[in-house]
């Protein structure tokens, strides 16, 4: 008798994932009921988010699927150094950005009612043109980031749900036999569609509050996933010491225990520029604006490095253990976490939890990105052109919802078209490089009075040109590589972001010094003199 589904064990991972998605729908309905109906509530949660929710939503937004799948895959292929490359640098630099930039952006946002970066930069630099130049660049940098998430979600769901519907979704090898890793799994087009619709639902209904609440839940899910998978996999490998000793005893895998031959000194150092990207992420900027007080940032600043360690360290260990267990010849390193769970552990519920954890990490970034693009189109284009007082709050909210639906649809179609040929995780580092190279703009906006609008425009244009040239070069070179192989572009041993960042700083500083400084009134607005009482009685 032909059946659409296989055994209960094959359905369990899918059921766990469906359970996770259902909880997100419930959260969406709940946040919709809490919605106050104002633009401020929809776009920035009425600036009411407290410390814990701030920590969870910001951490969830900054962690992508790379934090679980990519980290273990990179550790498998290049060893423990990936933790130092990304995790420990991010722990130091992200918190520095929140402390140095985030708090100040929150303050000007609260005082002057900004909801997007373009609104702020336009007034800070007295330049409507800057807003119109910056807007498409920010959107174009976010779109690949969206694609990384959506494509990654589709690719993650299929192997985890393999065996669920063998007749409905067959995946056969060239010789006609089923591919056991994928046969019967939810196909990427359907997985991507489900992810897009779920995220769309709770963002559409609850606005940024929906994203914040979902992020809290999702962050707890993906933090738990890594820890649970770590201990169960260790148990299956004979214990923590046995698992690590197997790596040390393996002729090829033992190199993963150190960095020699895996990562260069200069590459390791210049990776410090990548985490600066959080200083210019438009979706993170919007999250900063949700803080109830400046002190709502404190827990985020302190706990962010620890949260990163909790997620990354177990995944790094799983990656190097995979090298000790399976050898170092798996062609697609991003599949090692799934292999360790499916081939070693044989616990369908853990496979499902892993799937939910990966989706949680992906979706906790997607929701904020969809939300911020909808907000930007509404406030930086429509409202800017037509006039703020032409719209009621209700009309502005429905405009944003319309844009969010449109951007989700465009992203889904692009993901369908690009999913097969894209080196998904490589795009992520390029996105970060673009935003990191725009970081000087954010920094001088809050600290350097002498920065001018010409300097700001030169910075943005220079960054766009240099980034595009290096990105196109890298993509052309990567087309020559087989899928699954990713060699990072280095220039004289340094990350490309080094040169883009240098060009950005040089253009910003040189052009600023050669052009007229901002008006005194503008400087007074953004660099106010503070009272002696506040200085002598700092609140700790």
């Amino acid at each position: 008798m032909t059946s659409l589904a296989a055994s209960t064990a094959d359905l369990t991972p899918l059921l766990v994932i469906c359970g996770y998605m259902s909880l997100l729908v419930v959260l969406g309905i709940t946040t919709a009921r809490l919605f106050k109906g104002t633009a401020a509530d929809y776009f920035v949660v009425s600036r009411s988010v407290g410390s814990f929710f701030m920590l969870m939503s910001i951490f969830g937004t900054t962690m992508t699927g790379f934090a679980i799948v990519g980290s273990s895959g990179k550790a498998y292929s290049t060893g423990i150094g990936v933790y130092g490359l990304m995790a420990s640098w991010s722990g130091l630099i992200h918190s520095a950005c929140f402390f140095l930039i985030g708090i100040r952006m929150w303050a000007v946002g609260k005082r002057y009612g900004y909801m997007t970066q373009c609104e702020y930069f336009r007034e800070r630099f007295e330049s409507p043109a800057l807003g119109y130049i910056l807007f498409p660049i920010l959107v174009l940098l976010v779109i690949p980031y969206l694609l990384v998430g959506v494509i990654g979600a589709g690719k993650a769901i299929q192997p985890i749900t393999s065996g669920a519907f063998p007749d409905l979704f067959p995946v056969l090898r060239p010789d006609g036999t089923p591919n056991p890793a994928l046969h019967g799994g939810i196909p990427p087009w359907l997985g991507m569609l489900a992810v897009c619709l779920i995220v769309l639902f709770y963002v559409f209904a609850g606005g940024l509050r929906g994203a914040v609440w979902a992020n809290v839940f999702q962050t707890l899910v993906f933090m738990a996933t890594g820890i649970v998978a770590f201990f169960i996999i260790a148990n299956r490998l004979g214990g923590l010491q046995a698992a690590s000793q197997a790596v040390a005893d393996h002729a090829d895998a033992s190199a993963r225990l150190a960095r020699t031959g895996q990562i260069g000194y200069a590459q390791f150092f210049t990776y410090c520029l990548i985490p600066l990207s959080v200083g210019m992420f438009p979706h993170l900027f919007q999250h900063w604006l949700t803080a109830r007080h400046a002190r709502s940032f404190k827990l985020t600043v302190v706990a962010h490095p620890i949260c990163i360690a909790i997620v990354w360290a177990p995944c790094i260990m799983i990656g190097i253990w995979a090298a000790g267990k399976f050898g170092t010849n798996i062609p697609d390193a991003n599949t090692v976490l799934g292999r360790m769970v499916n081939q070693l552990v044989h616990l369908p519920w853990l496979s499902g939890l892993l799937g939910a954890g990966i989706l949680a990490a992906i979706m906790s970034s997607l929701d904020s990105q969809f939300m911020c693009i909808g907000t930007m189109f509404t406030r930086d284009i429509v409202v800017r052109v037509v006039g703020k007082h032409r719209f009621t709050d209700r009309e502005m909210i429905w405009l944003a919802r319309g844009f969010i639906v449109a951007i989700v649809a465009v992203t889904y179609v692009l993901a369908l078209l690009l999913q097969k040929g894209t080196h998904v995780f490589d795009l992520g580092v390029w996105c970060f490089s673009g935003f990191a190279s725009l970081f000087p703009l954010a920094f001088v906006a809050v600290y350097w009075r002498r920065a001018t609008k010409a300097g700001a425009i030169a910075c943005v244009v220079t960054t766009a040109v240099v980034w595009t040239a290096l990105f196109v070069h890298d993509m052309i070179e990567k087309q020559k590589l087989p899928p699954g192989q990713d060699e990072e572009l280095l220039i004289a041993g340094l990350m490309p972001v080094t040169f883009i960042f240098a060009a950005s700083v040089a253009s910003l500083v040189i052009v600023s010094l050669l052009t007229r400084p901002p008006a005194t009134a503008t400087l007074g607005k953004f660099f106010p003199a503070l009272t002696p009482e506040a200085e002598s009685n700092p609140r700790g």
Binding site: L92, I103, A107, Y265, V302, M317, R449, P528, L530
Partner: protein, 86 residues
């Protein structure tokens, strides 16, 4: 938002740059020692680094917190050049 920094802030930023330099742990680059027989020493160092960063940032929130910024943000806008808050 540009008052002269409190002296403790200088200490915090000195600690930040020291930690920044300590990230480049060349002394563990080729070391394959397993700490407690489990964690490669290079990874253990950087996990410890993450906790050191958290400690640094706790100190920053405790002794270098820009509380004047919060006071400024909470003040009502009075100038015609300052837009409405929402």
């Amino acid at each position: 938002m540009d008052k002269p920094p409190h002296p403790s802030r200088h200490v915090i930023w000195l600690a930040f740059w020291l930690l920044f330099l300590l990230h480049q742990d060349v002394w563990f680059w080729s070391d394959r020692t397993l700490v407690l027989g489990v964690v490669p020493i290079g990874l253990a160092y950087h996990v410890g680094y993450s906790f050191a960063a958290a400690t640094l940032w706790y100190a920053a929130t405790r002794w270098a917190w820009p509380s004047e910024i919060e006071d400024w943000a909470e003040m009502p806008t009075t100038s015609a050049t300052e837009g409405p808050r929402s």
